[in-house]
């Protein structure tokens, strides 16, 4: 079985997160000092080509590519933002990283700021993470006192409880003080982002491993995990599983190892029914798909996605329709209301699923749900609406019997 390998969480539990001295003793801020003696283009080159660090927030975009786009963009006023607006249900990796080691994220952010030439950095934190916000504010002022961020101003901003603000353009809108609604792309933020200036937005976990790559080199990072998606991933385990919690492993780990190894399997007397990998906007996987490595490319080959690394384990006591009602309610609550398909579509999907869950749906409900899902995935403005029914679609394919049980008014046990 695969062992845990901690990169982003390398200092978790071994240092005091409130102490910058602890972090420095553990080797912190060495990478930043090293960075300042490297040319910006060399640094980005290393990340882009040899390092191939891909975004850990869900979209898995090549970080170096993002940085080089912002670096090459015209103008001297540039921004870098750390996306700590972790809102995906079942995901709590960013919180774990920030609570146990805020300085590694700040160091990564400062390296990024140097690389693209930004003199202003923001950490946009989920508003509900009050403790994290306090921790970050302390950490930033310590960094300032120690003189690590003389050329960069770091500010902490926080959201007001909106899931869509985790989408980078909505995050930027929110940061500017507007309604948290996504923007039209193009232009992409690396060309015209915050205040219309080149802006890089990266996830907490991405920034957390940047110092290590700088320190230990691209070849070292490349040798870990799957070749197309090197490095490690922090997984958040929840649901009907014995060990709930966060752990970090190389990206070539299989789901089977996650669920039965780190997760300790599911409780006695129950069968595994499904795993929802990546959060509410991703599809379900059945027990026979567990032997696949969880890197982005392997999952893409079966039409699934790694997303934020949330692993929701569902056992056979649940009807999948009931799970879907919860997901649908989440999306109704989180739709920003900008475009018609998402605003009205999520509402109707929820109503239809609730009817189905209560055994009051008509026989055509599955076709209607499928129709609405296809429509929303093609016509919604942003990824929130486009993926709001991914779970529903995969459930319609994988768990036909659960739907027919609900249609005929009996519960399964």
């Amino acid at each position: 079985m695969m062992q845990e390998l901690r990169l982003a969480l390398r200092n978790a539990g071994t240092i005091n997160p409130r102490s910058i001295d602890d972090y420095i003793t553990a080797g912190g801020y060495k990478a930043l000092t090293k960075t300042h003696n490297t040319k910006q283009s060399d640094l980005i080159d290393m990340l882009e080509r040899s390092g191939r660090l891909r975004g850990r927030g869900g979209a898995a975009f090549n970080t170096g590519l993002k940085w080089s786009s912002a670096y090459q963009a015209a103008g001297t006023e540039k921004y870098i933002i750390c996306n700590a607006d972790e809102g995906e249900p079942g995901t709590y990796k960013d919180r774990t990283i920030l609570e146990s080691d805020p300085h590694t994220v700040i160091e990564g952010l400062l390296i990024g700021a140097y690389a693209i030439g930004a003199s202003n950095a923001y950490i946009y934190c989920r508003g509900e993470y009050r403790e994290v916000i306090r921790l970050l504010e302390d950490a930033v002022s310590q960094t300032k006192q120690m003189g690590y961020c003389d050329n960069v101003t770091i500010q902490i901003a926080y959201g007001a409880g909106s899931y869509v603000c985790g989408e980078e353009t909505a995050l930027i809108e929110s940061l500017e003080g507007n309604r948290g609604e996504p923007r039209l792309k193009p232009p992409f933020p690396t060309i015209a982002g915050f205040r219309g200036k080149p802006t890089v937005v990266n996830n907490v976990e991405t920034f957390a491993v940047v110092p290590l790559i700088v320190e230990q080199g691209a070849e070292w990072f490349q040798s870990i995990g799957a070749p197309d998606y090197p490095g490690t991933k922090v997984f958040s385990l929840s649901g009907d599983i014995n060990n709930k919690g966060c752990f970090e492993a190389p990206t070539n780990i299989t789901l089977h190892d996650i669920v039965y190894g780190f997760g300790g399997g599911i409780s006695e007397g129950h069968r595994l029914k499904a795993v929802q990998l990546g959060g509410s906007s991703c599809g379900f996987l059945t027990p026979d798909m567990l032997d696949l490595p969880v890197d982005v490319e392997s999952l893409r080959s079966i039409g699934s996605a790694l997303g934020s690394g949330a692993v929701l384990v569902i056992d056979d006591t649940h009807n999948i329709v009931d799970i879907l009602v919860g997901i649908a309610e989440f999306f109704v609550h989180e739709s920003c209301g900008k475009c018609v398909p998402c605003r009205e579509g999520t509402l109707r999907v929820m109503q239809l699923l609730k009817q189905l869950a209560a055994g009051q749906a008509s026989i055509s409900v599955q076709d209607q749900l499928r129709d609405l899902s296809d429509y929303m995935s093609m016509s919604c403005f942003c990824p929130l609406g486009q993926s709001a029914t991914t779970a529903l679609c995969s459930a319609l394919d994988l768990f036909k019997e659960d739907f027919s049980v609900k249609l005929h008014g009996q519960e399964v046990h």
Partner: protein, 492 residues
């Protein structure tokens, strides 16, 4: 400009770079339905009706917000696009109070239930936009028949607090055109988007009624609303009632600016509609006297000229002049220090009303109490003035007049003209202020009009603010002593 080659629906077109697919399509007479986009305002891509297929694109793309690129292959009307648009319309309509023509008398919306003997005279039944509604037109085009969802409408109270601009949230499709106009073009910032998701609403901040908001009743929001969610207060029932009442004299003034909109509504070519046809239509429904606004306009103009001559050269500060009630309200709310400085002159509507009550009623030996004045005008900005100051009794805009004509069988395409009545010869004084006082047309993408004219051999710098956004810019310049103008005329 550099050109790119694109393929729309199998045909190759050469179009300028840097334009959107929607613009490229309309340049080549290809129809793509829209509900939220407005020419002159950055596209928002909210309604998703203009979605098109682009080869190699994973999802449908909004035509209003996607720029063309060389070699782009676009399809605008495939079965799956039509299905998507139909879904959008079904979703919108199932949370929209679909009372396009709902008869309260018999409690039904079905055409076959309506009683033709009542229909001609009863005006209580229909939506203000019935027949001229963008949503209704699309619903017909896409054959929306049975809505597959639970109908959910009519939950919010109607805001009629201003008595001129009426907001009916139950018909709102949240396209946000009104917000864009109110905040970006008019710079009034009365309307905003509140709540999120399914509960999203367009209303003044904190859910206040319009009367307690910065709203100045310029009425431009209603002008761009695709449905009946924001509209001017209607007076057609009263107009019809008094037009038919014995012993009551109704007198209407038609402003020339309604002709353009009426032409568009009636499907006539530009310049094809004669004001005398409109007058004849009004007479058919029983209006006794119909005049054009020429007489009142020149009356109003000569008052303006008089005031201008009095103060030009006598003050160092820029002269601010307006005849618009909405603008006066705007200055009152946003630039209160200017209140005593602005020179106001009557709008044609005010001049008409005072002439009728003070002079015309005497010459005709009529009791003013038995006269009802009706102003037919395209500019909504003075409707509030009539409601507050009782200058004219009823203000009717082109849309309302068109609806009255539809219901009373006045077909503007076939109607015979009649001569207009007249108050007498209007004085056509040619003055140095003609350019300053000429009629301006409110447009979304208009610019501040800057020009010079000569008074007493002195060159005078002047500016006309066409929108309230311009007004704000011009007055802020005055406020900071940076205004280069001697005379500023502001409109709404």
């Amino acid at each position: 400009m550099e050109a790119v080659t694109i393929i729309i629906d199998g045909k190759t077109y050469s179009v300028p770079r840097e334009i959107t697919i929607l613009e490229a399509a309309s340049l080549n007479s290809i129809h793509i339905p829209t509900l939220c986009t407005l020419k002159g305002i950055d596209p928002k891509a909210n309604c998703r009706l203009c979605v098109v297929e682009i080869e190699k694109s994973r999802t449908f793309m909004p035509a209003c917000a996607t720029n063309v690129s060389d070699g782009m292959v676009i399809r605008t009307n495939t079965p799956s696009l039509r299905r998507s648009r139909k879904h959008t319309l079904e979703l919108l309509l199932s949370r929209h109070s679909v009372d396009c023509h709902h008869c309260l008398r018999i409690g039904s919306s079905k055409c076959e239930d309506l009683d033709p003997t009542f229909c001609e005279m009863c005006f209580f039944c229909d939506c203000v936009r019935d027949g001229i509604c963008e949503l209704q037109a699309l619903a017909r085009e896409y054959q929306i028949d049975v809505l597959p969802y639970k109908i959910d409408s009519c939950r919010y109270p109607i805001d009629d607090s201003t008595e001129t601009v009426i907001r009916n949230p139950n018909k709102c499709i949240k396209c946000r055109r009104c917000v864009d106009i109110c905040c970006e073009v008019q710079a009034v910032n009365a309307l905003s988007v509140i709540n999120r998701g399914k509960d999203i609403q367009i209303m003044p901040e904190m859910g206040k009624p319009l009367a307690d908001s910065p709203c100045v009743q310029c009425g431009r929001c209603g002008q761009v609303c695709p449905t009946g969610a924001i509209h001017e207060m209607e007076h057609k029932d009263e107009v019809i009632y008094f037009a038919h009442q014995y012993g009551m004299t109704t007198i209407a003034q038609i402003s020339f600016d309604v002709l353009k909109e009426l032409e568009a509504l009636a499907g006539l070519a530009s310049g094809e509609l004669d004001i005398r046809v409109v007058a004849s239509g009004l007479k058919k429904i029983g209006v006794d006297v119909v005049v054009s606004d020429k007489f009142a306009s020149s009356m109003a103009k000569s008052q303006a000229i008089k005031s201008l001559r009095e103060c030009i050269g006598h003050t160092k500060q820029p002269i601010i002049i307006t005849s618009s009630y909405a603008t006066k309200q705007f200055i009152n709310k946003e630039f209160a220090s200017f209140n005593n400085r602005i020179i106001t002159y009557p709008s044609p509507q005010q001049a008409f009303s005072s002439y009728v009550t003070d002079i015309w009623s005497q010459t005709q030996q009529l009791d003013a109490a038995n006269i009802r004045t009706i102003s037919v005008t395209a500019t909504n900005e003075n409707a509030a003035e009539a409601a507050r100051n009782n200058s004219v009794d009823y203000v009717i805009n082109a849309r309302e007049l068109y609806r009255i004509f539809m219901r009373t069988g006045v077909n503007l395409k076939q109607w015979t003209a009649c001569e207009l009545d007249s108050f007498g010869e209007e004085e056509c004084e040619v003055s140095e202020f003609d350019e300053l006082l000429e009629m301006v047309e409110w447009k979304i993408d208009s610019n501040i009009k800057k020009f010079e004219f000569t008074v007493d051999e002195k060159r005078i710098k002047a500016a006309i603010g066409i929108t309230l956004g311009h007004t704000r810019i011009l007055l802020e310049q005055v406020n900071s002593n940076q205004s280069p103008y001697t005379v500023i005329r502001v409109c709404a």
